[in-house]
């Protein structure tokens, strides 16, 4: 009786999911409700989890619950801690969920809601979740070894070096682009800037509390911090309304960039307990809370989607960023579907927490499904805005103009009617001077979220509070990524410097801390600053670069996973990793080629440099702008070189891996796995 009921239940869920997908994919001319997105995604995730991840767990990986995990064998109460699976998934999700799934889908909404939504679901189910699950499992079988170590041991020394170099390079681009998102969100906004500035002393107060007054009392400190943060959001309005204070906190893009660079350096060099850790705790709580609240808000408000399923910008002429739907939709969505960076978390702390092998399925595959769902919510929030408002907020002044009237005329000429008064009213309602040209995705997402939240609590009266709460939420956890990323980057630089000079490799030696912090901050700070000065908005160049780097890192992780599967003799199931690997390689290689060589100067870096050089030669650039234009030319060449470096690294790794696969399959090399030996579990039943 149980089985027929189960079959019936799953069939009903499949039909519901198919109906919801049909409603969003086939609806033409009629507004679609945002709730269908939630139903379509949730049904697809449940089915994928039940069947596809079950298949991978049973047939591809053959998870073995009789085998003791490293958390059981090496339990030291510190690094290796057997943890309940629901606690472990919470821990893992808090670590992998970052700004990517919020910003990527918001930017990709310029193609319409359909391509991004489908890729978020399909990409996660067949790519991102598979990568996270497999790397978590393989790292667990190797006592929590990192992706770089596994690449070195299983693919070869060069593979390990490529993985390590890619990680450092992607870190620099990642930090630059997320910092740019914060700059664009805070630019000329005294309310948002004040609120975010106040989070620094709040975090330090929490740090002192947990260090000296109540050591390790994370929840107490976080509760105090959260209360103070809410006060900071409200107090931001008072500052914005007082002209003398508003002037102090109204900062330009370059000034904010410098402030964030100085902040990043301080966060990397200061003791971790003082700023980084308390901010991270606060950010993790707010992040999980806001995402749950957003899900509840979408279900309660059921927002109508105003964006069409496909826009004319699939042809590559979009104002938010340049590039055709293929490959740039997939590169832009990035983390919500597949994120190479997750492989670092899946081969970091998490494998040391799992109580039994079977838990890798829930934690690895399940947490990535949750991340993809965050991307779906961001897509709903962005597409619930009128397309006119969406493009006015997300397009740089160089494309739509700097006034509401110019923007309305340009955007209306694309077929999206926009009354200039709408933009004035919207800015007034959210408590900002203007919402025009606020590129980067964060402000438009904040408007969308504020509309959903105020539809649940407070109505239009609280729209400005909700908007600034949403901006604070985005900026807070983006800065946490900046803090934590800069610190990890610093350790990696110190590790490299240690080969040149022993003292520089000592992580506790202060001159080395300062020097390596300056190097890593200088790296991402340079890209951030050039992004701020870029007349096309910076995001146009940097986000695709970040997407390419992130997807290439995912390809690295999947190549490592494929190599291990070959060594395990699972030839029959190699398509599980080869399919997403091939797709990622095709997408990123096409994207890299176009970003370097495309003749459109908005898209191709070399073409952009050439066009600017020709303009200087023709005397079309005023003398006062020549130095700035020459800097843009240099930056375009630098971006082209960085893209070529990423592409070159992955090609070398693939050749290395193909040679390794050939040697194993032809019997020239033994298929020896580097797994830890089998030890039977002492736990008959664990939760």
């Amino acid at each position: 009786m149980k089985r027929p009921l189960s079959v019936l239940g799953w069939t009903a869920l499949a039909l519901l999911g198919a109906g919801a997908l049909g409603a969003i994919a086939l609806g033409r001319g009629e507004p679609v409700n945002g709730l269908w997105f939630v139903v379509a995604a949730a049904s697809s995730y449940l089915i994928a989890y039940r069947f596809y991840s079950g298949f991978i767990a049973a047939r591809v990986l053959a998870l073995d619950d009789t085998r003791a995990t490293p958390a059981e064998r090496l339990d030291d109460g510190r690094d290796f801690v057997p943890t309940n699976r629901w606690v472990a998934i919470g821990h893992h999700f808090a670590a992998i969920a970052g700004p990517g799934p919020l910003v990527g889908p918001t930017l990709a909404a310029q193609f319409g809601y359909l391509p991004g939504t489908l890729w978020l679901i399909v990409g996660a189910v067949l790519g991102g979740c598979v990568q996270d699950f497999l790397i978590l499992f393989f790292s667990m079988r190797r006592d929590g070894k990192s992706l770089g170590q596994m690449a070195r041991e299983e693919v070869g020394r060069r593979g390990g070096m490529i993985a390590t170099t890619s990680i450092l390079a992607i870190m620099i681009i990642l930090l630059a682009v997320v910092a740019l998102v914060v700059v664009n969100a805070l630019k000329d906004s005294p309310w948002a800037t004040f609120t975010l500035a106040l989070t620094i002393p709040i975090a330090m107060l929490m740090g002192l509390y947990m260090r000296f007054w109540r050591p390790g009392r994370v929840l107490e400190a976080s509760a105090i911090g959260f209360g103070l943060i809410l006060f900071a959001v409200v107090a931001g309005r008072w500052v914005a309304e007082a002209p003398e204070w508003a002037a102090v906190f109204t900062l330009s893009g370059p000034a904010l960039a410098v402030a964030i660079i100085v902040y990043g350096f301080a966060a990397s060099a200061l003791p971790v307990w003082l700023l980084l850790a308390p901010r991270d705790y606060l950010s993790a709580f707010i992040k999980v809370g806001v995402m749950l609240a957003l899900a509840a808000g979408i279900i309660l408000v059921r927002p109508t989607i105003h964006m069409p399923p496909l826009t004319r910008f699939v042809d590559g002429t979009g104002p938010v960023f340049a590039g055709t739907i293929f490959p740039f939709c997939f590169i832009t969505i990035a983390c919500g579907a597949v994120s190479g960076f997750h492989a670092l978390i899946s081969s970091g702390t998490t494998p040391k927490l799992l109580m039994r092998e079977g838990h890798a399925r829930l934690v690895g595959y399940g947490a990535m499904l949750m991340e993809s769902f965050v991307g779906i919510m961001a897509m709903v929030a962005a597409c619930a805005l009128s397309p006119g408002a969406y493009f006015a907020i997300n397009s740089p002044a160089g494309i739509v103009g700097a006034t509401a009237e110019q923007a309305a005329a340009t955007i209306a000429s694309w077929g999206f009617p926009l009354d200039p008064r709408t933009m004035h009213d919207l800015a007034r309602q959210v408590g900002e001077a203007t919402l025009l040209n606020r590129t980067g995705g964060a402000p438009s997402l904040a408007v969308g979220m504020a509309q959903i939240f105020s539809g649940t609590i407070g109505g239009e009266r609280l729209l400005s509070i909700w908007y600034h709460f949403a901006i604070m939420f985005e900026a807070l956890f983006i800065l946490t990524v900046v803090d934590a990323g800069t610190r990890v980057g610093r350790f990696m630089v110190q590790d490299l410097l240690g080969h040149v000079s022993k003292p520089l490799g000592r992580t506790g030696w202060y001159p080395s801390i300062l020097f390596s912090s300056a190097l890593i901050v200088g790296g991402w700070g340079y890209f951030l600053y050039q992004g701020v000065l870029d007349p096309l908005g910076g995001i146009n160049s940097l986000w695709p670069l970040f997407g390419i780097a992130n997807q290439l890192l995912a390809a690295v992780a999947l190549v490592v996973a494929t190599t291990i599967l070959i060594k395990m003799g699972r030839m029959r199931w190699l398509w599980v990793t080869l399919l997403p690997t091939a797709w990622l390689v095709i997408v990123t290689m096409t994207g890299s080629y176009q970003k370097i060589f495309h003749p459109d100067p908005r898209l191709g870096f070399l073409s952009q440099a050439r066009t600017l050089s020709e303009q200087i030669a023709a005397g079309a650039i005023p003398a006062a702008r020549i130095a700035a234009t020459e800097r843009l030319i240099f930056n375009a060449h630098l971006d082209a070189a960085v893209t070529a470096l990423f592409a070159g690294l992955i090609l070398v790794l693939i050749v290395e891996a193909l040679y390794e696969w050939y040697r194993i399959l032809s019997g020239r090399k033994s298929a020896a796995l580097q797994e830890s030996p089998y030890v039977a579990t002492r736990w008959a039943e664990v939760g």
Partner: protein, 55 residues
């Protein structure tokens, strides 16, 4: 309901790291345990020496 709430609270404390020191004492039963403060600082150092937050 009360049991469920107690479990939830325990889960929140474990996931956040609030209960880490108690769990360390309970599980490892060290002969000379480090102080709560030392444990906290060590845990932070370990946590932020490798990738702990993602994009």
């Amino acid at each position: 309901m009360r049991t469920w709430l107690r479990r939830l609270w325990r889960g929140v404390r474990e996931a956040s790291g609030d209960a880490a020191y108690e769990l360390y004492l309970e599980r490892v039963r060290p002969e000379q345990p480090v102080s709560r403060e030392e444990f906290w600082l060590e845990a932070l150092h370990r946590r932020y020496s490798g990738p702990s937050r993602c994009c």
